[in-house]
């Protein structure tokens, strides 16, 4: 029973990781930028979610607004921070992104206070016992359902629509895509919009799970999401999903069995380094 419960916890955590890391993979696949500040958008989403839910009482409205607003902020981040740095060596954008992330955390602390916010009437409390001893919280069910829904929507979008095809064409070969009349600038905007919106959704969900948002809630996910996309083979969507789930499950078992040697956050990086030593291109990455 313990195994099943740990596995389930791992999957819940893995879905959150997937929502965050996917945006990062989208950005990396298109622009080769390690977008650390992505996690600041995750935190922003969580704040908008909690504040709106407390103000209006509607969680679904809060999720939709958070995703839209954060998506637009994502486009602004690209336009103001990354676009001018595209022709510079990649570490420049990386350091700029880290600086942006630290600055954003400070702004959250100054604007919303250091102690964080929580839901006044936390929605979806409680849960039900599915079979003997296995207890499912409604919040956890929501996390899994919403993640599956959004990821399938994304898969459909990229596989079956004109938009998705032009997006994949731009990732594969920007010059060729442009020659065929794809507006690559719009594709980049869209990319940042979708990635940031997914991060915002993850933020609202994490805020529900913990019933708390705080300025530093993005720190751990930001670095962990980097570990995940590297594990998945940088830019590979399938690899990212597998790596997210694997990491969620490994962490949930690891904290129980080797928690006295390594803390939870170090575990992810231990696993990362171990994998990279045998497969330097990541789990599903293509050999360069």
């Amino acid at each position: 029973m313990l195994y099943l419960e740990l596995l389930f916890q791992g999957i819940v955590q893995g879905s959150i990781y997937a929502l965050i890391a996917l945006g990062l993979t989208l950005v990396y696949g298109l622009l080769r930028i390690l977008h650390v500040a992505h996690a600041a958008l995750f935190t922003l989403g969580a704040y908008i979610g909690v504040i709106l839910t407390n103000a209006t009482g509607s969680l679904s409205l809060a999720i939709v607004v958070a995703m839209t607003v954060v998506g637009l902020v994502g486009i602004a981040v690209y336009k103001l921070a990354y676009e001018p740095l595209l022709d510079k060596p990649p570490y420049i954008a990386l350091i700029a992104s880290i600086a942006l992330f630290i600055a954003a955390e400070e702004i959250f602390r100054i604007v919303f206070g250091p102690y964080g916010l929580s839901y006044k009437n936390p929605p979806l409390q409680g849960g039900m016992e599915i079979f003997n001893g296995f207890y499912l919280k409604y919040v956890e069910a929501l996390v899994i359902c919403l993640s599956v829904l959004m990821l399938s929507l994304l898969a459909w979008l990229s596989g079956h629509t004109r938009l998705g095809i032009s997006w994949r064409a731009t990732v594969t070969d920007p010059a060729m895509a442009r020659a065929f009349g794809v507006n690559t600038q719009n594709v980049r905007y869209l990319n940042f919009f979708i990635g940031s919106a997914l991060a915002a959704a993850a933020g609202v969900l994490v805020a529900l799970l913990n019933n708390l948002v705080e300025p530093t809630m993005g720190s751990v996910p930001s670095y962990k999401a980097l570990a995940i996309i590297v594990l998945g083979g940088l830019g590979s969507i399938r690899g990212t999903l597998i790596a997210s789930m694997a990491l969620g499950v490994i962490e949930s078992f690891g904290t129980i069995y080797i928690g006295h040697l390594l803390d939870r956050d170090a575990l992810a990086f231990g696993f990362l380094i171990l994998v990279l030593m045998f497969r330097p291109q990541g789990l599903l990455g293509a050999k360069q």
Partner: protein, 283 residues
């Protein structure tokens, strides 16, 4: 007077630490987001030795050996990965370091090691030791930069594959850069332990790794003088802008961001550009 001595000591240690990263990232082109881990190894080694009344002057070389040995191991590991993968791997190193230290009782766990006794050198003597070690490493860096070794590093940093085709044993030189850079970081760590007389897991985390990379990048990657200037200024900047205490980190990170956005080659770049402009005006 004591305040100025403390300030100058902090500066010297930061200059040494930043130059040690410059050796790896600036000269050899191997980005590291986990350099604080090596400072941490040196600091913990020296702290434990000094707690059992070993002299600082013995603790420093031992700290260098420990940090350099770990640097060699990480260097071997990092030969497998490049560019962004390397950045993330080195970031992993610092999280692993902090994660392991937190769980070890003999390293003081979360609380760290405090109450390290002062060395017999006295405040001024210790400042002189720090400053001369920093100056020594700066001199060594300048020497390397101008020697054939500097050219080898530059070619690896420019284009590794071309360097390999030219018959350069890339792996060997990368490992050398890693060992020298991390050993120097270990020395900086030992000095840090003596200076603050306290080491804890949070003193050597990811934020510290980014700060030291910020010093190197703001100074101008690879430029010894630029990095020294940036390290000296940035290490005491948080102390000097105490009056904006609540906005300290915000100012610091905004500065770093705008530097990247408008002058990615750092202070050295600004300096070179203005020199060129002056020269043009003369002719």
């Amino acid at each position: 007077m004591n305040y100025e001595i403390t300030l100058l000591t902090t500066m010297s240690i930061s200059v040494l630490f930043a130059l040690s990263l410059n050796f790896i990232t600036g000269f050899c082109g191997q980005i590291s987001l986990g350099h604080a881990a090596f400072m941490g190894v040196g600091a913990y080694t020296a702290a434990i030795m000094m707690k059992s009344s070993v002299s600082l002057l013995i603790a420093i070389p031992v700290a260098a050996v420990f940090a350099g040995t770990l640097g060699l191991l990480v260097g071997f590991a990092s030969l497998r990965v490049r560019h962004d993968f390397l950045a993330i791997t080195t970031m992993g190193i610092v999280f692993l370091f902090v994660g392991i230290v937190r769980q070890q009782d003999f390293l003081g766990g979360e609380i760290g090691i405090s109450g390290i006794q002062r060395s017999a050198l006295g405040r001024i003597g210790f400042l002189l030791l720090c400053a001369s070690l920093a100056a020594l490493f700066a001199g060594f860096s300048l020497l390397v930069k101008r020697s054939w070794l500097g050219f080898v590093f530059e070619s690896i940093s420019d284009n590794e594959d071309v360097a390999r085709v030219l018959g350069i044993d890339v792996a060997k030189y990368k490992l050398f850069a890693f060992v020298v850079g991390t050993a120097a970081a270990g020395v900086a760590g030992a000095l840090y332990a003596q200076h603050f007389r306290f080491v804890g897991p949070d003193s050597f985390g990811f934020v510290e790794s980014v700060s030291v990379l910020a010093m190197v990048v703001v100074g101008g990657i690879g430029s010894v003088w630029g990095v020294m200037l940036a390290a000296a200024v940035l290490s005491v900047l948080p102390l000097l802008i105490q009056f904006v205490d609540d906005y300290k980190i915000l100012v610091y990170s905004a500065l770093l961001f705008f530097m990247m956005r408008f002058s990615p080659d750092g202070l050295a770049g600004i300096f070179n550009r203005s020199i060129n402009r002056l020269r043009k005006q003369k002719t």
